[in-house]
């Protein structure tokens, strides 16, 4: 269920008219009618009207508590239930969680079909021959095999009706060869996956100490899919970046404030090759107690010094806007400590910044906001109360928010903050004094990867406000579908003629280890797409900062911000714009494609914005666009909406047909997470909604590296090996039954005692497979990370392609032939013991079964790469258990144990031939795989073989020399390819050691 799981505080309050009904007594007299919309799934809108005292009051989401809300800062409320059960918004939002199955499982289904066809075929062949044999029992009116009494027979063996007998035999055959279809495989796989998930959950290297959060596999059935990821689609905010906003810079009245450099700036500077000289001031200010969300260093403003700045009144207004224009709620923790609960971390950063500068917001109620601020004239801190009249809320469409307040001087003020583009077009003529320079600064900020916001205000005329308010209230109370539109229009009316104050810059910090992780993933051959709502510039800069875009990579930018399109947009003919845009995108894609084909040696990064994307997703264009995107190492989609994210994910999935992984942390990523083959949620600050919709939850982006390269690789390997082996062992077993049946004139007689057969999949072969599925690892975790290319085994599906599967099946068939024919020829016929006894049905059954158990378990020992005492215990234990079983079962009275009675103790064990046959058969049956493996490791080694060989190789001088030479050359190569990333890391290390000192 898609809960709006964001755990941040949401401001809800009653209507003013009903707010005084605060006791059960007073509610007795309360009579009102609510008219509202039909149940729907929009969480953030509600249209309704309360009829009370012959008056209409509009109801908004502000008055609505969603199902599952928790009260905070208040003990209790009185309320009216509007919708219940499935009518609630939350339940209306519930979409069925997508059922995800892995590619391996889907292929496994197809293998089962193949096996099922084999089963039917084998049964049919058996029936055919059985029919012929049965028919021959009656030749020329005489019964041939008189010892079967064909004259007094049942329908199953009736030579007079061989067709019926053959048909019924077919059913017997289906039962008998049912072992070809490993039903226990599903159970074993489930067990393995659950245990694998436990390993993922318990992995210390994926445990985040700060947050006290381990990785969490929320579903256990996608483990092996982690090893096959072809494309990663990542959200930016909160995923690549921390989503802990820090107020770092601002531009007030055209003056830049705030020193210090952001990580992005450092990276950019490296890119340009500039030497950094400003390291010292940051370190100096580091000594001061750091405040979360605030990283602003400027002695001109801090500690009340802004008063002496030339434009101090603008500075005052600027911070007043930051301190009042928000929806945050203060929480007084102590005498000097105030925490803020805000809907977005940006907002919290603003309020904190205002507090640090000296405009402390400390109390809020429904109608007022209280600030404690410095009076520039007297120099003392005074409390000022701003009467809050209206809040025009932020929405992604409006891209701005504003409040209308009345200050203690009885001035009516409209305070606004919002995206620069929106604010700039609403400035009055006289308010544009700092426009040019602020624009410049905003450009600079966004280049540095900062999130910018313009701040403006307006003094309102009393009359104008009065008339506006009336209309606004009317719109607010209206119950109609276009109420929102109406209110937006009215908000537009008042939000004009603004006076620009300046702009803020908030840093969205990169998460720890992101560049290194992305670099590793890229080297593992995984394509990475970043889908973000940010501006192009910000996105590109973040791309550089986290080494998504690297030095020497060519950028391809597809955009609609071209002069000719912009010109057409001004004309306003929508159809013409659409057509022109489509053509333009088409041209750009084709051009880029030819460029990519020409310069095939260079890496490309594709950057496309959301608007262009809508055209690129056009039916005719989508294929060539995806083709282009697939050839680029990195794709960045900026300005994309949540829905676009999901659509892109679906497209990538369907066009490439490969495994996609989506990673994100916010509610806007839910669609993407559900759409992708694997959704990885980051349990960060943006609430738990993404985690709820995800398949795996990790605390930090950098854990993705280990999740994919180590756990994914292992799980993929384990499960695919396990399935192949399972088919192998069941085919080996099933076909020995078939060969034997062929020698019983296809009468359906099994080669083994019933209990041997029932125990095959349960006791003698199951545990080693499960051990393989849980513990096997081709190379250690350290080497997995060291050789990211190993991951390509999973992406290319080398371990589970059809040749390999069929190879294992063929191996099973071969084993069964070797086992059956070697056993029967060695042991039956002449005496098999010194005392002249001959091997009968029960002895042959035991010998064959012994050979099967040995062969199958030794094959396992040959195929696994990782021997611990558990593997030894399970493999040799299973074989030993077979003998124990025989002894125990054989000592039960013969009416129960039938053919197994004392068969090992009395008949087989004293026979040397029995043991020799076992040895010979096992060696002969292992020979094909052994020689194939030897050949393959020696001449066609796979990645893991190479790494294993390399690791096992003993030290030698010659080897050392080559190794050194190689490592030198590879180092040289790496440093030329990834200079910025490596150097940043080195510098970071240096810096941190300096700090420690």
């Amino acid at each position: 269920m898609n809960l709006d799981g964001e755990t941040n505080l949401k401001l809800k309050h009653a209507l003013n008219v009903t707010s005084f009904y605060s006791s059960a007594e007073s509610l007795k007299e309360f009579r009102a009618v609510i008219k509202c919309e039909d149940p729907n799934e929009h969480l953030y809108s509600f249209i309704g009207t309360l009829y009370f005292d012959c008056q209409q009051y509009s109801l908004s989401p502000q008055q609505i508590l969603l199902r599952d809300s928790k009260l905070k800062n208040t003990e209790y409320i009185f309320g009216v239930v509007i919708f219940t059960g499935h009518d609630t918004k939350v339940m209306q939002n519930a979409t069925d969680p997508p059922s995800k199955r892995t590619k391996i499982e889907r292929r496994m289904d197809r293998i089962i079909y193949v096996l099922f066809s084999t089963l039917i075929l084998v049964s049919f062949i058996g029936s055919l021959f059985f029919g012929i044999e049965t028919n021959n029992d009656l030749s020329g009116g005489n019964y041939t095999r008189w010892y079967l009494r064909p004259d007094k027979t049942t329908v199953f063996f009736d030579p007079r009706r061989p067709a019926v007998a053959a048909f019924l035999h077919c059913l017997t055959g289906l039962m008998l060869y049912g072992y070809l279809i490993p039903i226990s495989l599903y159970v074993s796989i489930e067990i393995c996956k659950v245990l694998q998930s436990i390993f993922i959950n318990q992995d210390q290297a994926m445990y985040d100490e700060e947050m006290d959060r381990p990785a969490h596999a929320r579903t256990s059935n996608l483990n092996e899919e982690l090893g096959q990821v072809h494309t990663i689609l990542s959200d930016k905010t909160g995923t690549l970046t921390c989503n802990s906003m820090e107020f770092v810079k601002c531009s007030i009245a055209g003056t830049l404030y705030g020193r210090g450099m952001t990580e992005v700036e450092i990276a950019l500077a490296r890119k340009r090759g500039e030497q950094l000289t400003e390291q010292a001031p940051i370190d100096a200010s580091e000594s001061k107690k750091s405040i979360k969300g605030f990283n602003f260093r400027d002695e001109r403003i801090m500690d009340g010094k802004w008063v002496s700045e030339p434009q101090s009144d603008v500075i005052q207004k600027f911070f007043r806007v930051l301190a009042t224009c928000h929806t945050a709620v203060p929480e007084v923790m102590g005498p000097d400590e105030i925490m803020y609960e805000a809907e977005s971390p940006d907002e919290a950063a603003f309020v904190i910044a205002a507090r640090e500068v000296g405009f402390e917001f400390f109390a809020r109620n429904q109608t007022s906001i209280k600030l404690r601020e410095l009076d520039p004239t007297s120099g003392i801190r005074v409390d000022r109360v701003y009467e809050l009249l209206h809040v025009l809320e932020f929405s992604s469409a409006r891209k701005r928010m504003s409040v209308i307040v009345k200050n203690p001087e009885n001035q009516l003020l409209l305070l606004a903050k919002g995206a620069d583009s929106v604010i700039f077009e609403r400035l009055s003529k006289e308010g544009r004094a700092y426009e040019e320079r602020t624009k410049e600064h905003i450009e600079k900020y966004s280049e540095a990867g900062l999130r910018t916001m313009a701040v403006a205000y307006r003094e309102l005329d009393n009359d104008e406000y009065k008339t506006w308010e009336q209309e606004f209230l009317k719109a607010k109370t209206s119950v109609s579908a276009d109420r929102d539109v109406l209110m937006d229009e009215l908000a537009c009316q008042i939000e004009r003629d603004l006076i620009l104050l300046g702009a803020t810059a908030v840093e969205d910090k990169l998460q720890k280890g992101v560049p290194g992780c992305i670099d590793k993933l890229a080297r593992a051959g995984i394509g990475i797409w970043v889908l973000t709502g940010d501006k192009r510039g910000t996105a590109i800069n973040i791309g550089y900062a986290c080494s998504l875009l690297r030095h020497g990579m060519k950028q391809i930018v597809i955009t609609l911000e071209l002069p000719e399109i912009l010109a057409q947009e001004k004309e306003g003919d929508k159809e013409a714009i659409a057509e022109a845009s489509l053509n333009s995108i088409k041209l750009q894609i084709l051009k880029a494609k030819s460029q990519v084909t020409e310069e095939s040696s260079t890496e490309f990064g594709l950057i496309i914005d959301g608007k262009s994307l809508t055209y690129a997703m056009d039916k005719n264009l989508v294929n060539s666009f995806m083709d282009l995107a697939m050839r680029c190492a990195t794709v960045i989609c900026c300005r994309s909406s949540p829905k676009q994210k999901a659509v892109i994910t679906r497209l990538v999935k369907s066009v490439t047909g490969r495994t996609t992984l989506a990673i994100g942390d916010g509610a806007n990523d839910v669609g993407m997470l559900q759409e992708a083959d694997i959704g990885v949620g980051i349990s960060g600050v943006e609430g738990m909604q993404a985690v709820m919709a995800s398949d795996f939850a990790i605390a930090q982006f950098r854990f993705l590296e280990r999740l994919l390269l180590v756990h994914g690789h292992w799980c993929y390997r384990r499960i695919s090996m396990m399935i192949c082996y399972f088919f192998y062992k069941n085919i080996t077993f099933g076909f020995t039954l078939f060969w034997f049946e062929a020698y019983t004139s296809f009468s359906g007689q099994p080669a083994y005692n019933d209990w041997y057969m029932s125990c095959y999949n349960v006791f003698f072969t199951s545990l080693p497979v499960i051990a393989l599925g849980v513990f096997d690892q081709d190379v250690s975790a350290r080497l997995c990370l060291k050789h990211p290319l190993l991951y390509q085994e999973g992406v290319r599906n080398i371990l589970f392609n059809w040749p390999r599967i069929l190879g294992w099946m063929f191996n099973g068939l071969l084993s069964s032939i070797i086992i059956y024919f070697l056993t029967t020829n060695s042991i039956t016929g002449p005496a098999f013991r010194k005392d002249g006894q001959v091997a009968d049905y029960s002895v042959l059954g035991v010998t064959m079964y012994t050979c099967v158990v040995w062969t199958v378990n030794c094959q396992m020992a040959l195929s696994i790469n990782y021997f611990t005492w558990i593997q030894h215990l399970f493999i040799w234990g299973s074989i030993a258990f077979w003998y124990i079983f025989l002894v125990v079962y054989g000592s039960i009275p013969p009416t129960l144990s039938t053919t197994a009675y004392k068969v090992l103790v009395e008949a087989c064990a004293p026979s040397i031939l029995y043991w020799l046959t076992t040895l010979l058969v096992v060696i002969a049956a292992l020979l094909p795989l052994l020689s194939y493996r030897a050949f393959q490791i020696r001449f066609r080694p796979m990645e893991h073989d190479r790494i294993q060989i390399q690791r096992r190789r003993p030290e030698s001088t010659e080897y050392d020399a080559t190794q050194r030479r190689l490592s030198e050359s590879s180092e040289a190569r790496t440093s030329s390819e990834l200079p910025s990333e490596v150097r940043i890391r080195i510098d970071n290390l240096k810096a941190s050691s300096k700090r420690k000192n």
Binding site: K152, T153, Y743, T744, T828, Y901, L920
Partner: protein
Amino acid sequence: MSLCPHMQQRLFSHQCVQACQSLPACKPVLTPGWVVEIVDRYDIDCVPESSRMDKVSYIRDDSIPKNCSRFMKVHKYMKAPIYIYYQLDNYYQNHRRYVKSRSDKQLLDGQKYHDTSSCQPVESNNNRPIVPCGLIAWSLFNDTFEFIREGAELKVNRKNIAWKSDRGHKFGKNVYPFNFQNGTLIGGGKLNPEIPLSDQEDLIVWMRTSALPSFRKLYGRIEEDLDVDDVVVVNLTNNYNTYSFGGKKKLVLSTSSWLGGKNDFLGHACVFVGCSSLTLAIIFMLLHVKYRRPYGDTSYLPWNRKSFSG
């Protein structure tokens, strides 16, 4: 292990030449090749020429005596015990209908156990369960063999030819085949109703169903050595019908070694597996020499190859 008398003689003759090498020695002979086996197929030859056209009616005609004499020449010295087997070919003792048609409980408890439904279609006669019931018992092999060497009868030990566990725990000591083969259609051999089942070793051997359609079953043991060029006359009664389904009947005399009877297959298989391993080893060696590559050379790793990209 066996020390062949032939070898002893040779050693003896060399004694005077190399005294030091003639010390008492025991040469272990690890091959089952020393097992001597005589196989004689008699199912066609024991039918008179006149009846060869219709062997089935010959074998079914109870009025004709079925005696027959065979001559077996011993080519190699055979040391006692010499095992006597009868071998049947193309006889499906492992047919599902046949295998199932028995009652282990009845074999152990006799008439006390009434439910003989598993013995279909030979379960009862005159509303009384047949003891022992079932197709297997009903089709009991009933050819008999007598061995004469140089006019004197060779003693055949027919005790202890069945598994001890079968005698002790599967076939009852107080179960007597009082109404066996009394029905309208008589299949194979009859049993002496005076002897309990646990002592009817022919039946016990027969009831251990064979694994494959071609099988041998132990008939008895000759506990005297047979010398080279001895001629053994076998007086047999050819009662059992294998003609209707084209099965063969053979009489086998065989000694045994530590590996059991004469079976060349295991040896051949060992040689074959060994040879193929050797061949593979040589092929690998040649390939290794031809495509020499230092073990663990990292330059072959794909990420160290120049052509690698992405």
